[in-house]
């Protein structure tokens, strides 16, 4: 049985060594200083940190890189050891007959990928089986000739294996297993060696003049860079995950057909209409009705949120006595903390029926409508607009208010003629951010805007139901009948992609406006 060292033991070992390094490093720095601490370039504890970091960081980095590298290595290794004559790699003549050469190639490659995957799956299952203490490797060697017990036992233990086990598969899996074990062991030994080396080197570096503080700061900066890179990489990851399906969709459906299409009627979502390879029903996936509904609702929402939010902000920052402020601010914050689904329910059960009762069923046939969703979304955005505007109004220098009041202007004149013009760029920024939230908002519109599965043209009636980009994404992804590779689902990626760019554009715009405003008064 090959030697294994569990990864958690390695991690504990390195951590303990680093802690010891800290204590020893500090002690050594103190002894080097010989009582005159001020003769050291860096503080003793910084020397301690330096030893600890040089023990742990390179070793941890090695472990992280090794685990990525070993995954790649085991893929390459598996590919290199599989026997090309294995029956799993062959295509029956009945399948290949009449297929063009290129198509056969593709299918063979797919076959091969599948085989590699099942070998790795089997290997993982055996690993799990042994780790659960059910058998040793020797037992498994004995079952080599008879797969039935092995397969049955693995499944019984809850291990997942996709394909049925064959001789070639098991051979490969067992070879892969010892290969992986060897790679892992090498990596772990290397990590230990590296941490000990770092520990010794760190201790040895301690002299009066050694600039431990600067080194430690460099480590810290490196870590901060690493952390921010992760955020950037996540964005890039999300973007690329939606970009490729989107491009595939544009290629299939046509970019302009999508962007300027006036009808939205995905096959998978239209009841009773089969999606046909035989052409019986072809999805209509036009973007126009969706963006229209989205912008219409956002417009109504801003119509509500901007006057209310801005007035609240002006009152709070310019006129409110402190006790009123103490009451209104928390109330606005509570409003901001309500989950959007609650707003959605409020829209559906309260606002919608109320509006219908007021305007009548001829104009408003359903309780769901542009106004229902827009008004409630506006309420949701009031605290957002007011707290952002409050910030920018408060940032207007007091000197400016004084200047105006000192000239004998009234507080109202001061607000309208001096403070609002000064805060305007920031307020516009707040409104743009609110618009971007309104466009991306989902729960309220899912419940309150209407759930038509297909629409044609643009609804002008503010009391009519509309569809929005986000509601259609939800509907198609949760809708029955659409397979994940159907064009409807690809269209959803295109919707998400477009939505991403619309909100990204708005946010960038808001940022620019706000940044410009900052330049002026800092």
């Amino acid at each position: 049985m090959p030697l294994t060292i569990s990864i958690s033991i390695i991690l504990i070992f390195i951590a303990v060594l680093a802690a010891v390094g800290f204590v020893l490093g500090r002690a050594r720095a103190l002894s080097v200083a010989k009582g005159t601490e001020s003769s050291l370039h860096s503080l003793p504890k910084q020397h301690g940190w330096h030893v600890a970091l040089s023990t742990a960081v390179p070793a941890f980095i090695l472990i992280a890189l090794w685990s990525i590298g070993s995954g790649i290595a085991s893929n390459i290794y598996t590919n290199s050891i599989i026997d090309p004559t294995a029956p799993e790699l062959q295509l029956p003549a009945s399948v290949t007959d009449g297929l063009p050469e290129a198509e056969i190639e593709v299918r063979l490659a797919a076959q091969r990928d599948l085989f590699v995957a099942s070998i790795k799956g089997l290997k993982a299952a055996i690993d799990g089986y042994i780790a659960n203490g059910n058998a040793t490797l020797a037992d498994i060697e004995r079952w080599r000739v008879d797969f039935a017990p092995l397969e049955a036992r693995l499944r019984e233990d809850g291990q997942i294996i996709a394909a049925s086990v064959s001789q070639k598969m098991l051979d490969a899996a067992l070879r892969l297993r010892s290969f992986d074990a060897a790679v892992a062991l090498t990596g772990r030994i290397a990590a230990i060696v590296l941490s000990i080396a770092g520990f010794l080197a760190g201790l040895k570096l301690i002299t009066r003049d050694f600039r431990a503080r600067i080194s430690v700061e460099r480590w810290l900066i490196a870590f901060l860079i690493f952390a921010s890179t992760i955020a950037v990489m996540t964005t890039v990851g999300i973007l690329s995950a939606i970009t490729f399906p989107t491009l595939a969709f544009f290629k299939e459906y046509g970019f302009f057909n999508f962007l300027f299409g006036m009808e939205w009627a995905p096959a998978g979502d239209v009841a009773g209409r089969p999606e046909g390879a035989d052409g019986s029903y072809i999805s209509a996936l036009g973007f126009m009705p969706l963006i229209w509904g989205t912008l219409y609702i956002a417009f109504v929402a801003l119509l509500v949120a901007v006057p209310l939010g801005l007035s609240a902000a002006i009152y709070l920052s310019e006129f409110a006595p402190s006790h009123a402020r103490a009451l209104v601010k928390p109330a606005l914050e509570i409003l901001a903390g309500i989950p959007t689904i609650v707003y959605g329910i409020f829209a559906l059960v309260t606002v919608g029926p109320f509006l219908q009762a007021v305007v009548g069923t001829t104009i408003m046939p359903n309780t769901v409508s542009v106004v229902t969703a827009g008004v409630v979304m506006g309420m949701m955005l009031v605290p957002f607009v007011s707290s952002l505007s409050d910030d920018v109004i408060n940032a207007v220098p007091q000197a400016m208010r004084d200047g105006s009041l000192g000239l004998g202007a009234t507080p109202a004149e001061t607000v309208t003629k001096v403070i609002l013009p000064a805060a305007l760029p920031g307020i516009v920024g707040a409104i743009v951010l609110a618009a971007s939230r309104a466009i991306g908002e989902t729960m309220i519109v899912v419940l309150a805007a209407g759930a038509l599965s297909s629409v044609t043209g643009l609804e002008a009636n503010p009391f009519g139901a509309v569809v929005t980009v986000t509601t259609r994404i939800v509907a198609v992804l949760l809708g029955e009948g659409s397979g994940f590779d159907s064009i409807d689902v690809l269209a959803v990626f295109a919707l998400a992609f477009t939505l991403f760019f619309v909100t990204l554009g708005l946010n960038l715009l808001a940022q620019r406006i706000v940044a410009k405003y900052r330049e002026q008064y800092d």
């Binding site: 105006s404 000192g406 004998g408």
Partner: protein, 271 residues
């Protein structure tokens, strides 16, 4: 206190009208827990320039701001005592601060141009006081005001450019001259370090302006320049750590102060 009132009376040299314009009694100002102005009593005369001097942070601006209720805008500021202008308590409930400020104007330590064009900045005061009946009127007022600030040639081609684009000194000059065109209601002008950003020539111009204003108004000026105080004022008040240490004829303060702290300050040992 009495001795000082007597001092005012014997001043016949410059003071034409020795009527008391502002009378402050036992004024205290607190910013939260900070006691910024302590027991200040002072009488400011009409048609006189009064200078406030004292080390930084001693409360000159704070006291000045009490005189037209600008401290109302600071929520943590609390004022006690009695301040009367022409015998009327300005902290009375019935007093409208807006009306008060039309009577007691203020030029601030920072010129704080508004986020508007140069033209609109100069026109702001005349507009809110309805000094101009038409756009043409206003054009004339703005031009006059900028000419008197000797700024007209510098800015006449960019009247529509933002006021923030002027240099600190240009801003101060524009503000002072705009102040020169007062609403008819103005009686007192409070100036907080009006020359802090000005070159010697512009400073001389402002001092000239103050001298002109003296014939019609009561002027209070805060300054860090003893020379300026000596040149423009007839009365000088020395503040120290929130106290009004000494208030007297300017000539007396600078030649023969009574309080040792005043002497230390003017000879450069405090501050």
């Amino acid at each position: 206190m009495e001795t000082k009132v007597n001092n005012m009376q014997i001043d016949t040299r410059i003071v034409g009208d020795d009527a008391i314009k502002i009378a402050a009694r036992d004024v205290q100002v607190y910013y939260g827990d900070t006691h910024a102005i302590k027991d200040v009593n002072v009488d400011i005369l009409d048609k006189t320039v009064t200078a406030f001097i004292g080390p930084s942070g001693c409360g000159k601006s704070t006291f000045l701001r009490c005189l037209n209720r600008m401290n109302d805008t600071i929520s943590i500021a609390r004022i006690e005592g009695d301040i009367r202008i022409d015998g009327e308590d300005i902290y009375d409930r019935r007093v409208d601060p807006v009306q008060l400020r039309a009577k007691v104007g203020m030029v601030f330590q920072k010129p704080n141009p508004f986020p508007k064009s140069i033209y609109e900045n100069v026109a702001y005061g005349p507009r809110i006081h309805g000094l101009a009946r038409s756009k043409a009127d206003l054009d004339v007022i703005v031009e006059q005001s900028l000419r008197r600030a000797a700024l007209w040639d510098e800015v006449k081609d960019r009247l529509d450019a933002p006021g923030t684009g002027l240099s600190g000194g240009q801003q101060q000059r524009a503000v002072h001259r705009a102040r020169g065109l007062q609403p008819a209601t103005l009686e007192i002008l409070l100036m907080d370090e009006p020359c802090s950003a000005l070159d010697p020539i512009a400073t001389a111009q402002v001092e000239e302006l103050i001298d002109e204003l003296r014939s019609n108004f009561s002027v209070v000026i805060v300054t860090h320049s003893m020379q300026q105080a000596a040149r423009v004022s007839q009365k000088t008040a020395f503040f120290h750590l929130g106290h009004l240490v000494e208030f007297d004829e300017t000539s007396k303060i600078f030649t023969n102060p009574e309080d040792p702290r005043t002497e230390s300050y003017i000879t450069g040992r405090i501050g």
